[in-house]
């Protein structure tokens, strides 16, 4: 059974008619379950190690303790407030930084003058690790929202800028020539040839940007904040609430995963034409 199911799943679903959803539900399919075996085993082992006292729960709380801490924080509402604050910061920084990155990427990809004017400067600034600016940023903005917004936006800017520019530059010149010969004006050429051609690369930038967004936010909130997930984790450390610390880390991980899955979903709808993104 497993032998015949595996290759059938690996092949594209479009190539053959969908099979009747009669027998087993898809999540019970062995090939779907296999990737989850190792994580499940780790969590189980962790729980056993914690409850038998093999690992001191003062330093590493067992999964059930973390769940309990999560439940409590959710009950008091503290978790939701902090989660919401962090989410808004991430979103604002991403929109600002990503928007500017996209704008510069498009401008420099489309206009030689704009590229000559700004690209070298931007590439130089890129070499400064943005987290090294934290002391300066605290001096400028204090521990206000401005500081977090600035750092996240700066971090997100470069991957989106660089990948947008690269995407536009690598659009097939033969297609552009075809568009011209077939009478497209500059505007049509942009919307119908250049932008769709650059989109796969822009999505790569988007995913890099999302990763940097969380990373920057964690660091910024841990160092200087009075709300948010990072602040929650730092407060918990002060009171030796290890379970809350681990909870915060796991929530960060989950948020990263959600952001990544959303981008994948986007990619799959926007890039359905590309065999590399279909199905899977």
């Amino acid at each position: 059974m497993a032998d015949s199911a595996l290759p059938a799943l690996a092949r594209s679903a479009a190539a053959r008619p969908a099979r009747p959803a009669a027998r087993t539900p898809s999540w019970l399919n062995p090939s779907r379950l296999i990737p989850w075996l190792v994580p499940a085993a780790i969590i189980l082992g962790w729980q056993v190690a914690g409850s038998t006292g093999l690992v001191s729960t003062r330093f590493m709380p067992a999964p059930l303790d973390v769940l309990r801490a999560g439940w409590q924080a959710a009950q008091t509402g503290e978790l939701w407030v902090n989660l919401w604050v962090s989410f808004l910061r991430a979103l604002a920084g991403f929109v600002v930084g990503g928007g500017i990155g996209l704008a510069f990427g498009l401008a420099n990809g489309l206009s030689k003058l704009s590229e000559q004017l700004t690209d070298t400067t931007l590439q130089m600034v890129r070499n400064v690790p943005h987290l090294s600016l934290i002391p300066l940023v605290i001096l400028w903005f204090g521990i206000d929202e401005g500081a977090k917004l600035f750092l996240v936006a700066l971090g997100v800017f470069f991957p989106i800028y660089a990948n947008t520019l690269h995407g536009i530059r690598s659009v097939d010149p033969q297609l552009i020539e075809m568009g011209r010969v077939y009478g497209m004006n500059r505007r049509e050429l942009f919307w119908r040839v250049v932008l769709p051609g650059a989109l796969p690369s822009i999505f790569v930038g988007l995913r890099y940007g999302l990763g940097i967004m969380w990373l920057t936010l964690i660091v910024a909130e841990t160092i200087s904040a009075n709300s948010g997930l990072g602040y929650m984790a730092m407060q918990a450390r002060e009171f030796m609430l290890v379970d809350v610390v681990v909870l915060a880390i796991l929530i960060y991980a989950a948020l990263g995963k959600v952001a990544d899955s959303l981008t994948r979903l986007f990619e799959r709808t926007c890039l359905a034409w590309n065999p590399a993104y279909r199905n899977g």
Binding site: Q174, L175, E177, M178, G179, V181, Y182, G183, M184, R192, V193, P196, G197, L199, L271, A272, W273, N274, P275
Partner: protein, 266 residues
């Protein structure tokens, strides 16, 4: 040309339409005068070319690689500016379009097949009308069933047929073919040649085919030009009846003659 009385032109179009054939005045004629093209101040690729292609003729330009045959085509289409000399296109319908089919299909991978064909219509009419006409053009090349597929799912020959439909959907007055079948396998190529021949007879456009395949030139063209060193070395009319049979002795003899001309300089 444009001085002809509007009335007679009108009636000519009308009769043509009722006879379900394109207007006879639809095709463009091409005249090149003392045409020279050099790239970046180097040696000229085209040297003082004089050529007249009457409206509705199917001309094949053959030559070795690097002889400038593609450059001639690009000059005619206005994709390159001549260094000196003149390119003029004449026809009764001044808005008549010219279209090119490249060696590669050059389809937009992110547009469905039918939308790729609709690219050939530019901004003419509404989106729905364009799609309608694109579907009709796809029927002409036998790909109706693939209209809503992505280009990535098609074979090489199918993609080139979509490119042909895109070139023809606007009913061009001049079709330029820049080695469009060079990358296809032999059998697909013969199929496509027959398809191009059939559609050309139906629509009556002027066709200029650039190719290094002498057999293809002999099978399709009314007239064959051999270009060497940027000038016409041989200009022959092919008046064999259509559809032409492969392996016809007269055509084989002609093919041999042209090959001799091409190979004589080695």
């Amino acid at each position: 040309m444009t001085a002809s009385p509007a009335l007679s032109f009108e009636t000519a179009t009308e009769t043509a339409r009722t006879a379900r054939r394109p207007a006879t005045g639809h095709a463009l004629s091409v005249t090149l005068r003392r045409l020279t093209k050099a790239f970046d101040g180097g040696e000229p690729v085209i040297r003082g070319l004089d050529l007249h292609i009457p409206a509705g003729q199917f001309v094949a330009i053959v030559g070795r690689s690097g002889c400038g045959k593609s450059t001639v085509l690009r000059l005619i289409l206005g994709l390159e500016e001549p260094t000196s000399g003149l390119v003029s296109l004449n026809g009764s319908d001044t808005r008549a379009s010219k279209r090119i089919m490249f060696q590669e299909p050059r389809l937009l991978p992110w547009a469905r097949v039918v939308d790729n064909v609709a690219v050939g219509l530019g901004r003419e009419g509404s989106r729905a009308e364009r799609r309608e006409r694109a579907r009709a053009a796809l029927e002409e090349v036998g790909l109706t069933a693939k209209a809503d597929e992505w280009p990535a799912t098609l074979s090489g020959g199918q993609r080139q047929r979509v490119a042909l439909a895109r070139a023809l959907v606007s009913r061009p007055a001049l079709l330029a073919l820049d080695e469009p079948l060079g990358a296809l396998d032999a059998l697909t190529r013969i199929d496509m040649q027959a398809m191009i021949e059939r559609i050309r007879i139906e629509q009556g456009f002027t066709a200029i085919l650039v190719t290094h395949d002498v057999g293809e030139a002999v099978a399709l063209a009314d007239r064959i030009l051999v270009i060497e060193d940027g000038a016409v070395a041989l200009d022959v009319d092919v008046d064999a009846p259509r559809p032409r049979r492969r392996g016809d002795p007269d055509l084989a003899a002609l093919e041999g003659r042209i090959l001799d001309q091409l190979l004589a300089r080695t």
